[in-house]
């Protein structure tokens, strides 16, 4: 169901590095799980609509009215920050 190459790509997409041991451990485990999941492909879903949510909801959209914002102090409270900005790693 899943090969080492695909696992590498998945891990990269998920921003996770797997050690050799982890990869060796995960590959058969994930394969077993995904093989089970793949049984869904045998279910006849011809003409069946997907259910993104389990119940029907018809919430009105929000009116375009300003609400109170956090203070800068609150916005930065949990972050590394500098001069009012939130710090992040290099983007270029």
């Amino acid at each position: 169901m899943i090969t080492q190459d695909v696992l590498d790509k998945v891990a990269k997409n998920a921003r996770l590095t797997l050690t050799k041991e982890e990869a060796a451990q995960f590959l058969p485990q994930l394969d077993e799980v995904l093989t089970h999941f793949s049984t869904l492909q045998d279910v006849d879903t011809e003409g069946v609509e997907p259910s993104f949510l389990p119940v029907k909801l018809s919430t009105e959209m929000r009116e375009d009215l300003p609400e109170e914002c956090l203070t800068q102090e609150e916005a930065l409270k949990n972050a590394q920050s500098k001069n009012g900005y939130i710090k992040g790693p290099k983007s270029v």
Partner: protein
């Protein structure tokens, strides 16, 4: 016939709502991270709530582009990791965009097909510092629409006109703030490279988009072209390869379960349709047909809603052709020289209508009219008052003009002699001298007649 190049665009346009797309944070310039909340900061446990006005505006634009509106409003998560992404996924529309299959018709009849129009949130703003990104979430979550064209444009001029048309429609719909963000991904492919697809990412502003297309076409026509993604450097005025070392990110789209999938009812679409103003295309056609305007005058006047409104009001009081000529050739030129847009000045129809009337009734000369319109463009004033105060009324009295003719002839004997020896230019010289003497107020027809009588 095969063209030399094909150009397509993905244009991102900021909608001028009061609040962000998924939260009630006000959109305005402010100190960094002072217009944020848990939602636009991507704090765990926060939830998006959809801004109704953003959807109304986007629907307006979709209808103005004659697109087909979807039957459901669906948002997806586009997952990728970047420091400006609050949640590391962007809420956007994927399988079901708000609208598809629209058109923009250019002046030469070219149809630019609009493939899709969708709504999405803008990421945060970033300042790059040595070894760091400094992120400001004030911008995070601002509503954008993305208009995606087919590669139907075949010259930089067409691309420019397309952008002008978009700008014009946005102005009519009043859904884009002048300080808002407009950015494009531009696709250019030229024949000499076998139409290899090159995409230039993230070109910001109408002007830059135009410059970028021109540069990229030239580059491709003279350089070796490979299929790639490039970036626009506005300072240098050139594009550079992004050399993506990895293949395109796999966004792993899923439908965003935080947002309800809503039906888009025909009644809603109709109610939006009703709010659409007459758009530049229809306006141009009407001006040509009903006002008998020149097609170019009509198009230029119709391009800006404020200009069109000023013209239309004027055309009810003076001849439309005269109003159009003065609006386009004199008013717009004056504004242009002064680097202004009509909508940014206090100048309104009630300022120019008295002027147009004076011109139409030959109560002032064209030359005085031109002077006054330049001054109006600088700062509006009461035209009738100014004409009276400065004594600018046209002079048609033959006695007064006759005196000026006589004086001029006696002051310029050489010119008179030249004329008599057959130099036609000398007549125009004398005309000019008389006009100057009367400070441009003498009606040129009367001057010409009197001068002819005297010297022929």
């Amino acid at each position: 016939m095969q063209s030399d190049m094909i150009i397509g665009m993905e244009v991102h346009i900021q909608l001028n709502t009061n609040t962000k797309l998924f939260c009630g944070c006000k959109i305005e310039n402010a100190q960094p991270n002072t217009r944020t909340c848990p939602v636009c900061l991507g704090h765990p446990g926060s939830r998006p709530t959809l801004n109704k006005r953003a959807i109304e505006y986007a629907t307006k634009m979709a209808l103005a582009l004659q697109s087909t509106i979807a039957s459901q409003l669906v948002f997806s998560r586009k997952t990728y990791f970047y420091p400006d992404m609050g949640k590391n996924y962007q809420i956007t529309q994927y399988e079901t965009p708000l609208a598809e299959n629209g058109t923009v018709v250019l002046s030469d009849g070219t149809k630019v097909r609009i493939k899709r129009l969708h709504v999405e949130e803008d990421p945060a703003g970033m300042v790059h510092e040595e070894g760091l990104s400094l992120v400001d979430y004030n911008r995070s979550g601002i509503p954008l629409i993305e208009v995606v064209t087919e590669p139907d444009m075949i010259s930089p001029e067409q691309a420019r006109e397309f952008m002008k048309k978009l700008q014009s429609i946005l102005a009519y719909l009043d859904i884009f703030a002048s300080d808002g963000i407009i950015k494009a991904d531009v696709n250019v492919s030229v024949k000499s490279s076998g139409f290899e697809r090159v995409e230039v990412k993230n070109v910001t502003g109408f002007k830059e988009i135009e410059r970028c297309v021109e540069y990229e076409v030239k580059r491709q026509q003279t350089d070796t072209v490979v299929k790639e993604t490039r970036a626009w450097n506005a300072e240098l005025g050139r594009t550079r390869s992004l050399r993506l070392k990895e293949s395109e990110e796999d966004y792993g789209y899923i439908t965003d379960p935080d947002l309800v999938v809503r039906p888009i009812e025909p009644a809603f679409v109709e109610s939006i349709q009703k709010t659409l103003p007459e758009l530049p295309e229809e306006k141009t056609a009407r001006f040509v047909k009903e006002h008998k305007l020149d097609a170019i005058d009509a198009r230029i006047i119709a391009a800006e809603p404020d200009v069109a409104a000023l013209y239309e009001e004027s055309s009810k009081q003076v001849s439309p052709v005269l109003a159009a000529r003065w609006v386009r050739r004199e008013l717009l030129r004056s504004l242009n020289t002064q680097g202004k847009k009509l909508k940014d000045t206090p100048l309104r129809a009630h300022h120019v209508i008295p002027l147009f009337k004076l011109i139409e009734n030959k109560q002032i000369t064209d030359r005085v009219g031109q002077k006054l319109i330049r001054e109006l463009a600088e700062e509006p004033f009461d035209v009738a008052e100014r004409v009276q105060k400065e004594g600018l009324t046209a002079v048609s009295d033959t006695g007064e003009i006759g005196t000026a003719v006589d004086e001029t002839l006696s002051e310029n004997p050489q010119a008179l002699q030249d004329f008599k020896q057959g130099e036609a230019k000398a007549f125009e010289f004398l005309m000019g001298q008389i006009m100057r003497k009367t400070k441009g107020k003498a009606l040129p027809d009367v001057v010409r007649k009197l001068l002819e009588e005297k010297i022929k």
